[in-house]
């Protein structure tokens, strides 16, 4: 009985400690981690902690064909650091790196909100999608793997999906 209680305490403690570490570092996804680092250096801001819980839950409720979901939020960013609109795409492309292909970009002019979606092949029959959504106060990075079927929905309706992901990023910031 005492052993069981100790194990439970240890498990809770480990889980709590795990949340102290930013998710990308745990996931072993060096590339995403270095993207987060670059973003962090750019905005001179650390990402929000405790995102691991959200990823953990989101990965259990992702739509069919979507997996390996990761998300990082930088809140209260210094908007003066966000490049002007004419340089935005090239600045972001250099942050993201050349392996990603720009797919959809949605710019809400009044609010100064940008959502850029990049894709690339990721092994056999898998595709990676990187969504970067930046507004005046927050920056959200989302990365996920898609099956061909899931990517096809994006290819069929890129505008609608781009708008939807902007909404999802907005919701994530609110939550």
């Amino acid at each position: 009985m005492r052993n069981r209680s100790n194990s439970l305490t240890l498990a809770i403690l480990s889980l709590a400690l795990l949340q102290m570490v930013p998710f990308p570092a745990r996931a072993g996804d060096q590339e995403f981690h270095s993207l987060v680092e670059r973003m962090s250096a750019y905005y001179q801001k650390r990402p929000m902690r405790f995102m691991g819980w959200l990823d953990f839950i989101a990965n259990r409720f992702t739509p069919h064909g979507v997996s390996h979901f990761q998300m990082v939020i930088f809140d209260d960013i210094d908007s003066s650091r966000t490049p002007p609109s004419e340089d935005f795409e090239s600045s972001l492309a250099s942050l993201v790196g050349p392996s990603y292909q720009p797919f959809v970009r949605v710019q809400e002019v009044r609010s100064g909100e940008w959502t850029c979606i990049y894709t690339r092949e990721s092994g056999k029959e898998r595709f990676e999608m990187l969504i970067v959504s930046i507004d005046a106060t927050d920056a959200v990075l989302m990365k996920m793997q898609l099956t061909p079927g899931a990517l096809r929905k994006w290819v069929d309706e890129p505008v609608k999906r781009g708008r939807d992901s902007r909404e999802e990023a907005r919701q994530a910031e609110v939550n």
């Binding site: 292909q101 809400e108 069929d156 890129p158």
Partner: protein, 199 residues
């Protein structure tokens, strides 16, 4: 002798240089790229409430064709399998009148003859809608190299640029997909001069 010879040589050199310049200019004019410079529409971005860009080229377009395995997709697959890229730029405005005919003209200015020819022009003055389809064809042979669609509505302006051989008869297969707006029956109205259907 020396002076007149020099003059003749200079004139000949200038004529040759002029001819080369003219040749270069003509090559540029006829060698227009089927991929439009969409970036020069940035001025419109400042007037719009929302701007959407879709880039579907290279590997992503190949992937799209890989997914089209259903029976319903067969004609769509025929359309996209040889394409090099589909690019869409769409501006949404808060209210009518926020973009001007001059803005549409700026788009048209890239779609000049002899490389480009307008094959469909549909205007609904009451609704304030314009739909135009342009084809870029090879000077000899008439093969289609690319297509541009301007879809202007009171609060939305969309430019679609398809690079690669497009079969206009099958374009309807792509309407409503890949960011391409629905154009109704307009694509079936006309066929371009010199557009050769494949058997």
């Amino acid at each position: 002798m020396d002076v007149s010879c020099k003059k003749i040589r200079t004139s000949a050199f200038l004529t040759l240089f002029g001819a080369m310049l003219l040749g270069a200019f003509s090559l540029t004019a006829f060698g227009q790229n089927a991929k439009l410079d969409i970036n020069n529409l940035e001025a419109l971005s400042k007037k719009a409430s929302e701007v959407v860009d879709v880039n579907l080229d290279g590997p992503l377009l190949k992937l799209a064709s890989k997914f089209m395995t259903d029976e319903d997709d067969r004609e769509g697959l025929e359309v996209i399998k040889n394409l090099k890229g589909i690019y869409v730029k769409s501006f949404t405005f808060e209210k009518p009148g926020e973009y001007t005919p001059a803005d549409v003209e700026a788009i048209r200015s890239q779609l000049q003859a002899p490389a480009w020819s307008r094959i469909v022009s549909d205007r609904n003055k009451r609704e304030g809608e314009i739909a135009e389809i342009y084809l870029m064809t090879e000077r000899e042979g008439g093969n289609v190299l690319g297509m541009a669609i301007i879809d202007a509505e009171p609060t939305e302006l969309t430019l679609v640029n398809i690079v690669g051989p497009v079969d206009i008869d099958k374009l309807s297969q792509l309407e409503g997909k890949m960011g391409i707006p629905r154009l109704g029956d307009q694509t079936k109205e006309q066929k371009p001069a010199g557009h050769h259907e494949k058997p």
